[in-house]
């Protein structure tokens, strides 16, 4: 292993110029993460040494547009506060037992979602998103290919993801979903028999927790019929950078940022997933708080 690494280092110098041209930063924006946060940097890619202000596009028209957009949002927020929490009447807020978070009715509903695949890290999977047959569902389709990129460091590859965009309030502040009054995630989907994973990312205080993700599996039956999937939030387990953590923690639902579907079952081939809606509800029969052990193990690990 170590020998092969030295070989790579030797050959790296030769194709340095090629690499730099190929992986120009911000040539193709594959996800919004490239805009708001520091992106994943591929092995061998030169770091982005530009100053922060060099990344901003100063434009008068853009500024005017931003002012109208952000002050409009601010006005909506202020007016919404008079109506009730989250802009809805108080009674509705207290009595609601189920809430539809996302439904796909019309092409503009696809704008709240980001599609990405292992193209980001140099893989060969393809993912596309479009409206379903009668314009009332979202169809995620593509091809999965789990051949790892030949950059000498990456050993696993092959994923496709559909992720909801971060909600933004006025002046690009993060807006979080407060789902703490619900305990179950309800989805109506139609897949092709492949197992998917549902990832929920929440807002955290410390920056080293920014990669924390709560996930659980979603198994599809396949076939022409719609499938209602109910997943209690208590079953979601904590993982960070793709590794399940030893110290588990229950998913706190008061600041949910995004929800994502991931396929990575190492089976090369086409896939499809149709999503009708994503909702949360209260399942009164479900009393479990957390599905994984919380007691201290003896001997403590």
């Amino acid at each position: 292993m170590s020998l092969s690494r030295t070989m790579l280092k030797a050959s790296k110098g030769a194709c340095e110029i090629f690499r730099r041209r190929q992986f120009q930063p911000n040539l193709v924006i594959l996800s919004t993460r490239t805009i708001y946060e520091r992106d994943y940097r591929r092995p061998g890619q030169a770091p982005d040494t530009r100053w922060p202000w060099q990344k901003i596009r100063f434009d008068f028209a853009k500024g005017l547009e931003g002012i109208s957009k952000h002050f409009g949002l601010l006005k909506d927020e202020i007016v919404g506060h008079w109506v009730g929490p989250e802009g809805r009447p108080m009674l509705e807020h207290i009595l609601e037992q189920s809430r539809v978070l996302w439904e796909f009715r019309g092409p503009e509903s696809l704008r709240q979602w980001v599609v990405s695949s292992d193209r980001e890290i140099g893989g060969r999977s393809e993912t596309y998103l479009k409206m379903g047959r009668n314009n009332s569902t979202c169809m995620l389709y593509g091809t999965l290919c789990s051949v790892p990129p030949r950059d000498g460091e990456t050993i696993y590859s092959g994923y496709c993801t559909l992720r909801s965009k971060q909600y933004l309030a006025s002046f690009d502040r993060k807006k979080h979903l407060d789902l703490s009054s619900f305990n179950t995630l309800h989805l109506r989907i139609r897949g092709d028999g492949r197992p998917w994973m549902i990832n929920i990312s929440t807002e955290s205080y410390f920056s080293h927790q920014k990669n924390d993700i709560y996930s659980y599996f979603m198994y599809t039956r396949g076939g022409p019929y719609w499938q209602d999937v109910r997943i209690p939030f208590s079953k979601f387990f904590l993982s960070s950078r793709g590794r399940i953590q030893d110290q588990q923690h229950v998913l706190w639902l008061d600041k949910v940022n995004t929800i994502a579907f991931t396929l990575g079952d190492k089976v090369d081939g086409p896939f499809q997933l149709e999503v009708d809606f994503i909702a949360v509800c209260i399942d009164n029969a479900h009393t479990e708080e957390f599905a994984y052990e919380q007691y201290k193990r003896n001997p403590e690990v």
């Binding site: 070989m7 309800h186 599996f217 198994y219 396949g222 719609w226 086409p270 909702a279």
Partner: protein, 450 residues
């Protein structure tokens, strides 16, 4: 005490003399290195041979030959171990040859020099030899690690990462097991304790696997067996019952696969046709308006672990709202002459409180009903027409309903299968055109059929 002595022996650089004196001696300690494995009893064995080894000396001369063919140690080639695998398995890549290579390596040198590289090479070669899902092979590979050498002896060693490369290698081996979904067994644990000690990183990895694997083993509500049936008819039966999700539905084999040679010498092969239809679907089809066509659509993919099968549907367009009939309840159940105290039909949901409302505020997706499903060996129109013909026996209405075929060429491609954009209301310029073409084709085939 004995263990410490051996460690001294091994650590010393002037081993050459000691080794000669040491090698023929069978070390007589039946040592149990950890209290964890107290329930296991070890036979006297070589110092670095674990319990997983079975020492049969059957093909010793053959082994000897391979060892002699082994490149010299001062050969600084990068691919030594890969090469060893390649050369031993020129004829057949089987579990036996894999095991032989591992045995050769571990008998070659008592110090197991270069074992980390060897294990990495072996891990990479495992899928080629078809042993990537074999726990015994993994244990055997783990056994290549020398025992007791990497176990931290004092608190400083424990504090720091003791023998990090070896530990990484052990973790990588366990991770490969994890990726292939193999659960380690007690033997793995004993080996890990012997090699790395009780609180090493590979041991932690083992503990994690043993915690999470049983948790998610039965998480799938629609399990697929690892070994799918080989017979296509059985496979079709399994997949159709899986996607139909209806216990009342009956699977019918309309045509068995057959390959026959006629007297003229032509080879006739008829593909299998297996269909499924539930009584509900039959009742729905009987109520279908005969003026509106039904469609045979497909192929649609269905994944069963690593295999993809395709199925076809018999379905209709969604019923337009003006044609929808209100379902009338049986007047005997809801008529005015019902007793107030003993009603025949009572629609109360007793699990719900008064304020409870579990429904979601969404519009239902309008889709046409599915009347039947089938899987077939050949996706051509003639085969599917045969299926429709056979369906007519139980559904006589199909004789009066025009049937159109909307089949996509190239049954493997999903994008074409999913790419039928038929939106009667939404995009009038693209939709009907395509529809027209397919319908023309279908009408032609219909004519051919009749």
């Amino acid at each position: 005490m004995t263990m410490k002595v051996t460690r001294l022996f091994l650590r010393g650089c002037t081993i050459s003399i000691l080794k000669l004196a040491f090698k023929p001696k069978v070390f007589p300690c039946t040592f149990v290195p950890s209290p964890d494995s107290g329930f296991c009893y070890y036979n006297p064995r070589w110092l670095h041979c674990g319990s997983a080894f079975c020492k049969n000396k059957s093909d010793s001369e053959e082994l000897q030959k391979i060892v002699e063919n082994e490149p010299q140690k001062n050969d600084r080639s990068l691919v030594t171990h890969d090469d060893l695998f390649e050369r031993t398995s020129k004829d057949s890549k089987t579990k036996a040859s894999f095991n032989k290579v591992v045995e050769v390596f571990s008998k070659k040198d008592i110090r197991r020099r270069g074992h980390v590289e060897f294990i990495y090479a072996a891990l990479k070669k495992m899928p080629e030899f078809g042993v990537e899902r074999d726990i015994a092979v993994y244990n055997k590979l783990l056994d290549v690690f020398p025992k007791d050498v990497f176990v931290p002896q004092n608190f400083i060693q424990k504090m720091f990462n003791h023998y990090p490369r070896q530990q990484e290698c052990g973790v990588q081996l366990l991770e490969q097991m994890e990726n292939y979904g193999i659960m380690p067994n007690v033997e793995t644990k004993v080996l890990l304790v012997q090699i790395f000690g009780k609180k090493s990183h590979p041991m932690r990895k083992y503990q994690r696997i043993m915690y999470w694997f049983p948790k998610f083993r039965n998480a799938n509500p629609f399990p697929v067996p690892r070994e799918l049936p080989k017979d296509p008819v059985d496979l079709a039966h399994f997949s159709l019952t899986r996607i139909a999700n209806d216990l009342d539905a009956t699977v019918t084999v309309y045509q068995h696969p057959l390959t026959d040679i006629t007297e003229t010498g032509e080879e006739i092969s008829q593909p299998h046709i297996v269909g499924i239809q539930s009584p509900e679907q039959r009742a729905l089809l009987a109520k279908h308006n005969p003026n509106r066509p039904v469609f045979v659509e497909g192929p649609f993919p269905l994944w069963l672990r690593k295999t993809c099968v395709h199925y076809y549907l018999l379905r209709a367009e969604p019923v337009p709202p003006e044609e929808k009939l209100e379902e009338e309840l049986d007047p005997e159940l809801v008529g005015p002459e019902q007793s107030l105290f003993y009603p025949q039909l009572l629609s109360l949901d007793l699990n719900r409180d008064l304020g409870d409302d579990d429904s979601f505020d969404i519009d239902e997706v309008e889709e046409g009903p599915v009347y039947a499903m089938c899987m077939t060996g050949g996706g051509d129109q003639a085969t599917l027409a045969h299926w429709i013909c056979r369906l007519q026996e139980t559904n006589p209405i199909l004789g009066r309903v025009p049937t159109f075929f909307r089949l996509e060429a190239g049954s493997g491609e999903l994008q074409t299968a999913a790419g039928v954009q038929y939106n009667p209301g939404q995009n009038p310029q693209a939709g009907p055109e395509m529809e027209h073409i397919t319908e023309q084709e279908a009408a032609r085939s219909q004519g051919m059929k009749q």
